[in-house]
């Protein structure tokens, strides 16, 4: 036996019987493996926006953009921006969801029932016609591949993110959010 490997990263460990000239190669391989964990690469993806009673559709000029990066093994950070767009926007109906770039680990306790899944991020919802309607939102794990939102509406009580919450989504409204989860 000349080498063994570590259990998680498969780093190469020479033993006394390993020829010394091989060490440089093995060390280079180890360094590259370790270095890769400290790199940070953002990757674009296209989240799917759905409503449990009917899917919303963007209006003219609208957009949904997502970006994600692996912060660490199994640790994923995601940001999403939605611009509802102008003419032709349809808010759909029901509770809103957005898809994640990968499957969440079961330990995130994803649940359709509000607050029974982990809170994983935060968002701001912008009503373009009413600053007073705009508010922040907690992002929650809703299923292994989707996220949802929880809103607090002061004394009147809160709700889950949907076509009429925190306001009736309409043309040119926007939402920006980020979340962090453990990957399967």
């Amino acid at each position: 036996m000349g080498t063994t490997t570590t259990p998680n990263l498969s780093l190469i460990k020479p033993d006394l019987s390993e020829p010394i000239p091989n060490w440089a190669t093995q060390n280079e391989s180890n360094c590259d493996t370790i270095d890769a964990f400290f790199s940070y690469t953002e990757t674009d993806y296209s989240p799917t926006w759905t409503g449990t009673g009917g899917n919303p559709s963007l209006g003219s000029g609208g957009s949904i953009s997502g970006r994600w990066a692996s912060l660490w093994p199994k640790l994923i950070r995601v940001e999403i921006q939605i611009d509802c767009g102008g003419a032709g926007f349809d808010a759909g109906s029901g509770v809103y969801e957005l898809t994640t770039p990968s499957t969440m680990n079961a330990v995130m306790d994803a649940s359709e029932s509000a607050v029974r899944g982990f809170i994983i991020g935060t968002a701001i919802c912008i009503d373009i016609n009413s600053n007073s309607n705009s508010c922040t939102m907690a992002v929650r794990a809703r299923s292994s591949t989707t996220i949802g939102g929880i809103l607090e509406l002061g004394a009147t009580g809160g709700s889950t993110w949907g076509n009429s919450s925190p306001f009736s989504w309409a043309q040119d409204d926007r939402i920006s959010l980020y979340f962090v989860y453990l990957e399967a």
């Binding site: 964990f37 640790l75 995130m108 029974r116 809170i119 907690a138 809103l151 607090e152 453990l182």
Partner: protein, 188 residues
């Protein structure tokens, strides 16, 4: 002769020319194991938090309750998710004016500002709460460092920023829910 590199927090062992090959192999092996454990685990750890209310009658989650957490460490940066669900009997919300606290899986770096006054400690995450008896009673809030080992919760209740406690943002009872996420520098 060996020297230790401790600034990284990994406590790596460096070697000198005076070392024999045998020692080099041994130390290299140890170093790679440490790196493998610290980075490569992607280890997701379970943690059972403790709900308390310092100096007051503490809350009791009751029968068949749930309280759980998961955390992962990125060198010294801790990502911690948790949630609790009060049980279906023998629930006690507690009493007094002090707030609920939840324990952390890894102590926070003492350089972070921890304080028992709302708004005075470091904000380290966000949270949501649900009164299961009222479909409209969902609340969100922030998570504040209460001590190096505990966090407390702040919520915008009736347009007043308040610390979550036995009767804030509602009187806690059977089935009520609290979930949180925190990110903070921890002690290695």
């Amino acid at each position: 002769m060996t020297t230790r590199i401790s600034n990284s927090g990994i406590d790596l062992i460096s070697t000198t020319k005076a070392n024999q090959v045998r020692n080099f192999v041994t130390y290299n092996d140890l170093n790679l194991n440490k790196i493998d454990n610290l980075i490569g685990t992607g280890v997701v750890s379970s943690f059972t938090p403790t709900l308390s209310s310092p100096q007051d009658e503490p809350p009791s989650l009751g029968d068949n309750s749930i309280i759980k957490g998961q955390w992962i460490r990125m060198i010294n940066l801790v990502f911690y998710w948790g949630r609790l669900e009060f049980g279906d009997a023998n629930v006690e919300a507690g009493s007094g004016s002090n707030w609920f606290t939840i324990t952390l899986p890894i102590p926070a770096d003492p350089g972070l500002r921890a304080d028992q006054t709302i708004g005075e400690g470091a904000t380290v995450g966000n949270c949501a709460m649900r009164d299961i008896s009222d479909v409209n009673n969902l609340q969100t809030g922030t998570v504040q460092l209460h001590s190096t080992t505990t966090v407390m919760f702040a919520t915008n209740h009736s347009n007043n920023q308040r610390a979550v406690r036995h009767n804030v943002p509602f009187t806690w009872n059977e089935g009520d829910l609290l979930a949180w996420m925190t990110v903070y520098p921890g002690v290695i």
